[in-house]
Symmetry: C2
Subunit: 383 residues, 2 copies
């Protein structure tokens, strides 16, 4: 096991009826901005609950944060924050809204062009304090410091993190997820699944707590994922999926181990060029990454097969094949297609992605062995 | 799943060579008191490492904190803190030293008789800030707010907790555990094991993340527990056991579920009256609690048998018997005896414990169905 230097102080308010609790978490003298997306929170009652909880505050709102939130949109929020002298942000929505809020919180404290913060031209030295009300379990953003922002003008999608962009608190009420469209539920499960595999499906690092915690979370996804689309209003199923999603990326299971993240980085490019949902890009890419890295990842793929899917019969090669196949079928069973051709993506996009990897000089994976030619091969295999 | 309102902000510094990091965690203007036990930290080099790390600080020390730390000893430390104007505490040792430090930190900020804080005659409103250097994985005290203190004069052992008694940071270097006596290693594994079962072995609460995390930790204990006494200097084994021990009681796996704690409360009485090691008292009591509660706990005992010990063959009754028996044999395999007669305890002590439960009007267990007569029956069964 590698060394660990870590704390995760985010306060969690989990369960039905917890939205009113934000009233106790935000200092009363703060001027609050509620940030949200396209308005689904107005249909499911979350917006009204938040407004009621903030009845003692001065607040403004900023809506229209899109999926894979745009730098350009965030910049507008920063202008409004400055004009209105807002000093506390409240993200209400899924990972995109929370990620955007993190970037906006940092951008509001930076005087130059905020894209500088994404390309490491400037460090994140400060950010406005913020809380979150999560309505779509997927990204884990509610309990970590990371965020991903897209610059529409250049079709760039980049990730960043800072201790300053850690939420003060996050409200997770499973009832807010009852009315999610099935495709968003499925995308969230796959995003969560791949967060876990990025940290777990590497090589044997003799870190048993981390391994078994990862398998615990994967088992929850497989068991509850098979049920949730039939029982979308079942509180316990929604609660288990929501809690698993937070734990998949609150950065505890990755402490003391080397992680992969190749699938996410390749997936981001598919979203950047084609706008494919993040979860879907991961479902496409992960089987390809595992097939290409099957030798170096063999022990862990076989371990996942046994401990998560109950696959125990066969040679090592057969176990690996069965595990990857079972995993892909699990994604399909959630209604998610797993090939590029299902989304109209062809070789021309693969060339563009490979070229960008080459230009950026990016080498991916826990073994640092996936270069731009390997990325092209992985994607070619997923046509 | 029940609702959750929780944060655990303790910063973890885990791994070899991490003791010097305390230098970055304690503000330089603080006057530090190093608190420790009987001097084992002087033999294994930890004391010297801590002294070196504090070379830029004014510091004093307080030694002689005993196992099951005494209120009377802690009171002496408080006097010295006031005389020396100490404003930061550093616990160096196992759970007893850390628990004592928590009590001392709170007592130093309280003007009356500090036992008031243990019997809830006064609330804990403040405590000195403190960090810990853990040398014996067992109690989880390094990442939680709880502590247990014994009043020698009256043979009382009581538990308390407060948000003010949360460590600022904890250093966990597995190398400091290489030279632990085998019986302390075994006691630590059993203490950890029973922390987990207290939170997990109840009834089906439909909380899958919590269940599977608990099973993950139990599996680590069983796998590594079988190896550690043969390979006491194996870093990975020690690291896995140390990390599992912290997670067993950092209060994340108990969020959203109802816990038991009967075994601990009964065990505390055996220590209070006979001075039996805490871990040993748990190994004695737990099989008795499970046998008495076998009907209400049936689903979870069978689940633990399957997912932790791989027990799958038999009727439900047989599965329960096999699981309890396998668990007790695991404790025995660590060199720990599991009957009261092994420790010279007879019926007269059982009567004293039952009487005290009756006087305190304590009813134990997740179902609130273990009264003083049940406690007597459980202990009688463990003669």
């Amino acid at each position: 096991m590698n060394n660990i230097k870590f704390a995760n102080p985010v306060k969690i308010l989990f369960g039905k009826g917890m939205i009113p609790e934000i009233n106790k978490e935000i200092p009363k003298n703060k001027k609050v901005m509620i940030l949200y997306g396209g308005g689904s929170i107005k249909k499911n009652g979350v917006y009204d609950q938040v407004k009621t909880a903030l009845f003692e505050y001065h607040w403004v709102e900023f809506s229209g944060l899109e999926a894979n939130p745009h730098y350009e949109t965030c910049t507008k929020a920063v202008k409004k924050i400055r004009a209105e002298k807002v000093d506390f942000l409240l993200a209400v929505g899924g990972g995109s809204v929370i990620d955007a809020t993190k970037f906006i919180a940092a951008a509001a404290c930076y005087q130059g062009d905020a894209w500088d913060l994404m390309i490491e031209k400037a460090p994140i030295d400060a950010a406005l304090p913020f809380g979150t009300v999560l309505t779509l379990p997927a990204t884990g953003s509610e309990m970590n410091m990371g965020f991903v922002i897209t610059k529409a003008a250049t079709q760039e999608k980049l990730a960043m993190d800072s201790f300053h962009t850690l939420p003060q608190f996050s409200v997770l009420d499973p009832e807010t997820t009852f009315t999610l469209p099935p495709v968003q539920t499925a995308n969230g499960i796959i995003d969560t699944f791949v967060h876990i595999t990025e940290q777990y499906l590497t090589y044997n690092q003799h870190a048993l707590v981390q391994d078994y915690f990862a398998e615990a979370l994967l088992k929850v996804l497989v068991e509850e994922g098979h049920k949730v689309l039939q029982q979308p209003h079942n509180y316990d199923i929604r609660a288990n999926l929501m809690w698993a999603s937070t734990w998949a990326l609150n950065n505890w299971i990755s402490q003391g181990v080397v992680a992969d993240w190749a699938t996410h980085i390749i997936g981001h490019e598919l979203t950047a060029f084609h706008g494919i949902d993040h979860g879907k890009t991961l479902a496409i890419v992960l089987p390809g990454v595992l097939k290409r890295e099957r030798t170096k990842k063999a022990d862990k793929i076989i371990q996942m097969g046994k401990n998560v899917f109950g696959i125990t019969e066969g040679t090592r090669d057969e176990l690996i094949d069965k595990t990857i196949d079972t995993m892909e079928k699990f994604f399909n069973s959630l209604g998610i297609q797993t090939h590029l051709s299902d989304y109209g993506v062809d070789e021309s996009t693969i060339s563009k992605i490979a070229l960008r990897m080459k230009e950026r000089n990016w080498i991916l994976g826990e073994n640092q062995d996936i270069d731009y030619t390997a990325v092209a091969e992985i994607l070619h295999d997923r046509i």
